[in-house]
């Protein structure tokens, strides 16, 4: 390959990387945590009254709840396994008209259970918005709401990410064999960072190819569908998923005529013995086209969505109506489309693959952080000799270093505090959801401001210590809940919830170690760098 082409792609890589790098850091850090969205939901969920319900009672509950609240017939779930965040019973959401379909923050949640006398009890619940908020940070690269403008920003970042990925590989190709197994930890720190950046990039290349292509689609699919409807499908796309039969004015059907959930589940069991059901979602239960989706996983197959996949049944006849989304029973075309989702979400291969995605996501975040460090290092002004005074570093390098430290560590600190705050706000104010988003952004912006005020060298040490402390705050909250029950905090003992504590503990130890290394660099490292706390101060601007 001609060296000129390589040079051009070096520029492409540098510019796409520097523009999108910090947004991608947040997307990958929050995305890695989103892999464990359910454990996070379980960790933060306030305790709810234990109501055991046998599957045989479920039909009674459905019929009675529908009588009390006919509007829930549109869409409700029967949860088969209760957990910290899921009551044993049925739940549904009411959304205000006109809300964005991706924005779940505005929905109100209700739960119906049977009490000891067999009467229906309906309550509004307030599930923690924390897991959804971290997911939103991931999906729209650190913006607060998942709406159209946010997705356009995310779409641009996704395209830049794809360009950065390909250009990075093109730049590395000519020297790949020479560089791949080399991690030169010598006196040239730039060489070491570059080697590490290359190794992580190449080793996780398949993961990043998947993420870049799927992210482009997740951002732009609405627009692409619209263009293709006109140019490819001749306007027929909108009708592709409409089931035959127009709206009918028939009287509502009697839900008691539906097959009981136990019977529906045994039909599913007979249809696919390896499918593990988790919930039943009823759609238009009293309408002429009533449907029930039995959601679940198949350990031997990939799932099309984060929550698994589903088989569609007619709840009145028990006939299987759709396997388009059923793990293990999809036809080739649907299984292929589902694989794109599964490859992005890590919904195959069970827990080991989830941990692999978690680590690859964190490695991805590090990749973008190190990319920014390399950009800064390239612009370093070196000391002429040991005797001369260290030169003042370039302004763009100082600002980029501060922005990188502030934005990246600010989001890390903000997420940790939002997690711990999900419990503390509940205890202190009685309601946590309104405070989670302000808590995150308060820490985030404070970190960014701090980084610019104090400079990258000092701020990186402070913010890494803060990241460690806030990560430790998560298991500490659990510990305090056990030691001092009078505080009103709570702690769950499930493996999922304890896994959150253990992971946060490990994260805190990691950040503390990084803080010590960064401090050593700042106070004892070479002074001709933006990472030295003793670097030459830029001359003060004089007011004219």
């Amino acid at each position: 390959m001609r060296s000129e082409v390589i040079r051009i792609y070096k520029r492409v890589h540098a510019w796409t990387g520097i523009v999108a790098g910090m947004a991608l850091f947040i997307a990958f850090y929050a995305g890695a945590l989103t892999i464990f969205k359910e454990p996070l939901a379980r960790w933060v969920a306030p305790p709810h009254a234990e109501t055991a319900m046998s599957l045989d009672e479920a039909q009674t509950l459905i019929v009675r709840a529908l009588k009390a609240r006919p509007e829930m017939a549109k869409d409700f779930h029967l949860y088969l396994k209760s957990a910290e965040h899921l009551p044993a019973g049925i739940g549904w959401q009411a959304r205000p008209a006109g809300a964005d379909e991706h924005d779940s923050a505005s929905a109100r949640h209700y739960v119906a259970t049977l009490d000891a006398t067999g009467a229906v009890r309906i309550e509004e619940t307030h599930p923690s918005r924390l897991p959804e908020f971290i997911d939103t940070l991931h999906r729209v690269v650190g913006l607060p709401v998942d709406n159209d403008p946010s997705r356009w920003v995310m779409g641009v970042v996704a395209v830049l990410y794809a360009l950065a990925l390909v250009s990075g590989v093109i730049v590395l190709l000519p020297s790949l064999v020479k560089d791949f197994f080399a991690l030169r930890v010598d006196r040239n720190p730039k060489r070491m960072w570059l080697d590490a950046h290359n190794v992580v990039g190449i080793v996780s290349l398949p993961f990043h190819v998947v993420m870049a292509l799927t992210a482009v689609i997740f951002a732009w699919h609405d627009g692409i569908y619209r263009v293709q409807d006109t140019l490819v499908h001749g306007g027929r796309w909108a009708n592709a998923f409409q089931r035959p039969g127009g709206p009918s004015r028939a009287a509502p059907r009697d839900p008691a005529a539906m097959l009981p959930p136990a019977e529906l589940l045994s039909r599913v069991q007979a249809f696919s013995p390896t499918f593990e059901a988790g919930a039943l979602q009823y759609l238009q239960a009293t309408g002429p086209r009533a449907a029930v989706r039995v959601w679940g996983h198949d350990p031997g197959a990939h799932s099309p969505r984060a929550l698994g996949g589903f088989v569609g049944l007619d709840p009145y006849s028990g006939k299987v109506t759709s396997t388009d989304f059923m793990p293990g029973k999809q036809d080739a075309a649907n299984a292929t489309v589902a694989s794109f989702f599964a490859l992005h979400l890590g919904t195959y291969g069970g827990t080991p693959v989830q941990w692999m995605y978690f680590l690859l996501g964190l490695a991805g975040a590090w990749l973008f952080y190190s990319g920014n460090l390399l950009w800064v290092e390239t612009r370093r002004r070196k000391q002429a000799g040991d005797d001369s005074a260290p030169p003042v570093q370039r302004r763009d390098a100082r600002l980029m270093a501060a922005a990188t430290v502030g934005v990246c560590l600010g989001s890390v600190c903000g997420i940790s505090l939002a997690i711990a705050g999900g419990k503390w706000l509940h205890v202190l104010t009685g309601e946590a959801n309104a405070g989670i988003v302000p808590l995150y952004y308060a820490v985030f912006f404070a970190a960014v401001i701090w980084a610019f005020l104090r400079g990258a060298a000092r701020a990186s040490v402070h913010l890494l210590w803060l990241a460690a402390v806030l990560a430790f705050a998560i298991p500490l909250t659990t510990l305090l809940a056990w030691l001092f029950p009078s505080l009103g905090l709570w702690a769950h003992g499930s493996a999922a919830a304890l896994g959150v504590d253990a992971t946060a503990l490990m994260g805190g130890i990691g950040f503390a170690w990084l803080a010590r290394v960064a401090a050593r660099r700042a106070w004892h490292g070479p002074r001709d760098s933006v990472w030295s706390a003793l670097a030459a101060k830029p001359p003060r601007k004089t007011n004219r």
Partner: protein, 96 residues
């Protein structure tokens, strides 16, 4: 073999980037139309999704490869021709 030095590659950042963004996208749509034709026996629901997903690799592939062109003008000319081919082929087949 000629000993002539190959002409220098012009940077043309803006022209190449715009070609990759716009003509890369329209080429991907055109190719998705060809794929749609190949899969015409498949039900529209699944086919439409597959065809939609096919846009990402083609668009990103073209976009990231566009800086290999000698100049912005060449990028526009080649990608324009590829677009004509992708959109014209099904039309020509229907006539023929």
């Amino acid at each position: 073999m000629s000993n002539e030095k190959p002409a220098a590659i012009q940077r043309d950042w803006l022209a190449k980037t715009l070609a990759g963004a716009t003509l890369g996208f329209t080429l991907a749509i055109g190719c998705s139309g060809l794929l749609d034709g190949l899969l015409s026996s498949m039900a529209l629901g699944a086919r439409g999704q597959l065809v939609m997903w096919s846009v990402a690799p083609v668009w990103m592939g073209v976009f990231s490869g566009v800086y290999f062109f000698r100049s912005g003008a060449r990028a526009w000319a080649w990608l324009g021709a590829a677009n004509l081919l992708a959109f014209g082929a099904p039309w020509a087949f229907r006539l023929g």
